[in-house]
C-alpha cells in the first residue's frame, strides 16, 4: 500500500475510535445526576465566602510557611551535604534519606502525637503547628536534594575559570555558582511547591479548629454536612487554579532552559 493511503486509513480509524469513545461517555453517563451531585449551584453558592477566606487562604498560608521553612532548612542541609567536613555530609545524607523515605502522613502524625508525648514538648501553634513543622521537616529533605543538584549542575568549568582568575572559593560560590544554580533550581523548586500545596491536605490528621481548615478538609467536611459532592468540585477547581499555572510555568521554563544551552 502507498504511504499516504495507508496513513489516511489509520488516521481515519483513530478518529472514529475517538468519536465513538466520546459518544459512549456522553450517552452512558447520567448527566442530570452528575450535575446534581457535583455542580449544584445552590450548594456552591453556600460554600462562599468560607471556601476562599478560610480554606483557600489556609492552604496558601500553610504552603507558604512550609515552603519558606523548607527552603531555609533545605539550603542549610544542601550546604552541609556539599561540605568538606565529613560528619556534616553524613548527618545531611542520613536526614535527607530518612525523611524522603517516609510517607508525609506518618511524619505529620508522629509530630502531632508521638513527639509531644515523648518529649513533653509542643511545637508552637498547637497541633496545626506540629503538622506544619512536620511538613517543613519533610520538604526540607526534598528541597535540600534539589538545591544540591542545582549547585552540582553548574559546570565545573565555571568554578575552574573563577579559580584561574584568582577568585577565592567564597566569592566563587557567591558570584559565579549560586546565581547559576538558582536559575537551574527554579523549575524543580516550583514543582516542590506544587507538591507542598497538595500535601497540606494531610494536615487534618493533626486535628484542626474550623478556622484552620484547608481546602481538602473543608471540602470533606462540607460534603458530609450538605450531603452533596459539589464542595469537592469547588476544592478541586481551587487547587487547579493554583497548581496548573505553576506546572505550565515550570514546563515553559524547562523548555526555555533546554533551548538556552
Amino acid at each position: 500500500m502507498k504511504r499516504t493511503t495507508k496513513k489516511r486509513l489509520t488516521r481515519g480509524v483513530m478518529y472514529l475510535i475517538f468519536v465513538a469513545a466520546i459518544l459512549a461517555l456522553v450517552l452512558a453517563a447520567d448527566w442530570a445526576a452528575i450535575q446534581k451531585a457535583f455542580f449544584n449551584v445552590d450548594i456552591a453558592r453556600d460554600a462562599f465566602p468560607d471556601v476562599i477566606v478560610i480554606a483557600a487562604k489556609n492552604t496558601i498560608v500553610y504552603t507558604a510557611i512550609a515552603f519558606a521553612g523548607g527552603m531555609v532548612f533545605g539550603l542549610v542541609l544542601a550546604l552541609m551535604k556539599l561540605s568538606p567536613v565529613a560528619p556534616y555530609r553524613w548527618a545531611a545524607t542520613i536526614y535527607i534519606e530518612f525523611f524522603r523515605g517516609l510517607p508525609a502522613l506518618l511524619v505529620i502524625f508522629t509530630f502531632a502525637f508521638a513527639v509531644p508525648i515523648a518529649f513533653q514538648w509542643r511545637p508552637p501553634g498547637g497541633s496545626a503547628g506540629a503538622g506544619l513543622l512536620a511538613l517543613i521537616i519533610v520538604s526540607a529533605a526534598y528541597i535540600a536534594e534539589t538545591i544540591r543538584a542545582g549547585i552540582q549542575a553548574v559546570p565545573k568549568g565555571q568554578v575552574e575559570a573563577a579559580h584561574s582568575l584568582g577568585m577565592p572559593a567564597g566569592w566563587t560560590m557567591v558570584s559565579v555558582v549560586l546565581p547559576q544554580a538558582f536559575r537551574i533550581v527554579i523549575p524543580p523548586l516550583t514543582n516542590e511547591l506544587v507538591v507542598l500545596i497538595k500535601d497540606t491536605s494531610l494536615l487534618f490528621i493533626a486535628g484542626m479548629a474550623i478556622q484552620q481548615q484547608e481546602l481538602t478538609t473543608f471540602a470533606r467536611d462540607s460534603v458530609s454536612s450538605v450531603g452533596n459532592s459539589t464542595p469537592l468540585t469547588i476544592a478541586a477547581l481551587m487547587y487547579l487554579a493554583v497548581t496548573l499555572p505553576l506546572t505550565r510555568l515550570v514546563a515553559y521554563m524547562e523548555r526555555r532552559g533546554a533551548r538556552g544551552r
Partner: protein, 248 residues
C-alpha cells in the same frame, strides 16, 4: 622589564599526576622562560590538559614541584589565589560566566580580587575588549556571541587581570573552522607583544609560525621537544613521526 628574581617563568620538576590507579603524568620536567611561547602537542589522552591544569593547581599534582615565577605552587603555605591572578588561563570550552554580560565577565575578578573600583575595572575591560576586537560587544551576554567571539572574550577576561603569563588549552578546537583564524590572530598579537605563553594546540601552523619551542607529549611523558620547525619537519622519535603523519 627588570631582570626577574627567578630562573624560569614556569618550572616543572619531576611532575607526576595520577587519577586513582591511572598515572596520567609520569615525571614531567620542563620550563618556560619569560617571553617564550611554548606549544604542546600530542595525541588525545596524553596528559596535555592535565599538565596545564597542574601548573595553576586546578589539579593537585601527586608528586613533583611546579614553580611559577619562582613561587612553589605545591607548597601548602603559598597564597594560590595571588599567583593564579598572575596566570591567565583560556579553556577549550571558553567557560565564560553565562549570567554576566561581557563587561561583567571582565570586571568580576578585577573587582573581587584586585579590589579595583568599578570605573577602573570597566576601563581596563574595555581596553582589553578592544585588543581582541570586540569593544562593540561590551554589553552582550555570552549566549549571543559566536564561539570565536566567546573565546576572544575569554582571552580578554584573562588579560584584564594583567597576567604575566598565559596558558591556553586547545583554544580553537571547539570552533568552526572559519572562526579559528580570528582567535589565532589575537594570540599571535599577544605573542609578538612578548607575552609568556604555553599553548596546547592542534594548530600546527600556529606552532610553526609563533612557537619558540614545541613539546610533543605521549602517554604522560615528554617524548620530544625543540624548535617547532625542526620537530615538525624532522621528528626524531618514532611516536612523534607516527603522530605527525596522521595530523599533518
Amino acid at each position: 622589564m627588570t631582570s626577574p628574581a627567578y630562573d624560569h617563568a614556569i618550572d616543572v620538576q619531576k611532575l607526576h599526576k595520577s587519577f586513582g590507579d591511572n598515572e596520567v603524568l609520569k615525571g614531567i620536567d620542563f620550563h618556560v622562560d619569560d617571553g617564550e611561547v611554548v606549544c604542546v602537542i600530542g595525541p588525545s589522552g596524553s596528559g596535555k590538559s592535565t599538565l596545564l591544569r597542574c601548573i595553576n593547581q586546578l589539579e593537585v599534582p601527586t608528586k613533583g614541584r611546579v614553580l611559577v615565577e619562582g613561587v612553589d605552587m605545591t607548597d601548602p603555605e603559598t597564597d594560590l589565589n595571588d599567583v593564579r591572578s598572575r596566570i591567565g588561563m583560556v579553556f577549550q570550552s571558553f567557560n565564560l560566566f553565562p549570567h554576566l554580560t561581557v563587561t561583567d565577565n571582565l570586571t568580576l575578578a578585577q573587582r573581587r580580587v584586585k579590589k579595583r573600583s568599578k570605573a577602573d575595572a570597566r576601563r581596563c575591560a574595555l581596553e582589553n575588549l578592544a585588543k581582541v576586537g570586540l569593544e562593540d560587544k561590551a554589553d552582550a551576554y555570552p549566549a549571543h556571541l559566536s564561539g570565536g567571539q566567546q573565546q576572544r572574550v575569554a582571552i580578554a577576561r584573562a588579560l584584564s587581570m594583567e597576567p604575566d603569563l598565559m596558558l591556553f588549552d586547545e583554544p580553537t578546537s571547539a570552533l568552526d573552522p572559519e572562526l579559528v583564524g580570528d582567535v589565532l590572530a589575537v594570540m599571535k598579537t599577544l605573542a609578538s607583544d612578548g607575552m609568556t605563553m604555553m599553548v596546547v594546540t592542534h594548530e600546527m601552523g600556529f606552532a610553526r609560525e609563533v612557537g619558540d619551542k614545541l613539546v610533543f607529549m605521549d602517554e604522560g611523558v615528554i617524548m620530544e621537544e625543540g624548535d617547532p620547525v625542526e620537530v615538525l619537519s624532522n621528528p626524531q622519535h618514532e611516536r612523534t613521526q607516527e603522530f605527525l603523519s596522521k595530523v599533518l
